[in-house]
């Protein structure tokens, strides 16, 4: 698996220029928006997609056939992709958290429980993004998976729309009118925010594990 990790690190490093631009944008946003949570969410999300990006590189020029002749099993290939995705996401999360903390110390902002909850909440995409993306890319290939993602997004939006119609009409309208922040605050009144963070983390980790299982099943059936 070491060889696969070296390969993926090198592939991720290929995007150093893009990652650098994104880091600069995040830092600019940090100082202009004065929202330290933004940079953590942004960097965690971007870095957690690196693993699935390496799948696309592996696929290029029919490369998967050659990669599958290397001395490791198909299961190990998938396990490495999930591991690499989480490591990349965690790297982004750690760097951005340190940057956010420095920003808060410099501006003398308090590091309170709300900030820590937000920081922890941004661990969710680190598990959720590879959990959603990798099995779809493995199943449909990089090019077709983009269409599949749009379909999935459409389905999620449709389900969201139907669910909102099923709930209390007044609350839904009022929540949308007040915007996302108030809406979040509205939930907080009923469910403790820490509980939301904990449940989200557990659910995302479970999605990650189930997805890993699915990924192994998909690759075991693939022919190259």
């Amino acid at each position: 698996m070491k060889g696969l990790l070296v390969k993926d690190i090198k592939l991720a490093w290929e995007q150093k220029a893009l990652l650098g631009i994104m880091l600069v944008c995040a830092l600019v946003c940090l100082f202009t928006m004065k929202d330290p949570a933004f940079i953590i969410g942004y960097m965690s999300l971007i870095c957690s997609t690196l693993g699935s990006t390496t799948c696309a590189y592996d696929e290029m020029n029919n490369g998967m056939a050659f990669i599958m002749t290397l001395p490791f099993s198909r299961e190990k290939y998938i396990v490495e992709k999930y591991l690499f995705s989480v490591l990349a996401g965690l790297a982004g999360w750690c760097i951005s958290t340190v940057a956010a903390l420095i920003f808060m110390v410099v501006l003398r902002k308090p590091v309170n429980g709300e900030f820590i909850s937000a920081v922890l909440l941004f661990l969710v995409p680190i598990f959720l993004v590879p959990g959603l993306m990798i099995p779809i890319i493995m199943k449909f290939g990089h090019a077709r998976s983009r269409i599949v993602f749009f379909v999935i997004m459409g389905v999620i939006l449709a389900i969201g729309g139907i669910t909102s119609m099923l709930g209390s009409f007044d609350i839904t309208i009022a929540a949308f009118d007040r915007g996302l922040e108030t809406f979040t605050f509205g939930i907080e009144k009923r469910i403790p925010y820490n509980l939301i963070v904990s449940v989200s983390l557990i659910v995302s980790f479970l999605v990650y594990l189930v997805s890993l299982f699915l990924g192994i099943m998909i690759i075991k059936k693939k022919e190259y």
Binding site: L4, Y57, N62, P71
Partner: protein, 283 residues
Amino acid sequence: MIRIDGLKKEYKDFTLDVSLEFESGTINGIVGTNGAGKSTLFKSILGLIFYKEGSIEINGKNVKDFKYEDKEKIGCVMTESFFSETFTVKDIASIMNATYKTFDKDKFFKKCEKYKLPTDKRIKEFSNGMKAKLKIITALSYDTDLLILDEPTVGLDVIARDDILDEIREYMEADENRTVLISSHISSDIEKLCDTTFMIHNGKIVFHDDTDRLLCEYAALKLDEETFEKIDKSHIKAYRKEKYGYECLTDARDYYVENYPSIVVEKMSVDEMMMIIIKGERS
């Protein structure tokens, strides 16, 4: 030794159905037209595709049970498949070093230097010849028992092809128990390099023999219709109709030279044999 027993791989419009053996210490050439089944055969050996019937054993072990140690002993070159072309030679050395316990970094870089492969340039900037050489150098830079080469010389000029064939010869000279399987469209490569030649057509092995025997004892008999009707056909493997009569492929050149001194007997290349077998009738 590689033993393929009753291997059957079915697609919608094509079925590979072969049983064959490759002896240790030999270079085996697989020739056939596009879509004949060469790559399917190699992919089956490499575990890239699945098959419901048959078995493939390498040195007595089923390839389906192969572990890291077994796969590490196989070197592979595929025509249109390699590491991402965004990598440089140095990147590939790092990956191979982390992947194979026996990867010889010094040997790898020396070979790159010999063939003037720039180590800091991305592979996508390489010419076809450079890419082909890099693939073979990579496969030869760790300790293997078996080398599987799917069209390693396709699209290359004579010099580049010769370099690659030299590398394969050198690989075999280093250890007499090694085995090479090589497929090629270019029959002269097979004639120059291989101990045994297998011809595959429509998913089946249509004939195989020692390459030396193919070149010495196989021949084309050019016969008019009358001679064709009378001649002893027990050593004729295939024939096809021509303007002058029949062109026949025989595996007993001397027999016909001695017994039918008036007929035209000509030496054939593997390509010409393939033409008669594929386009003609088999006896």
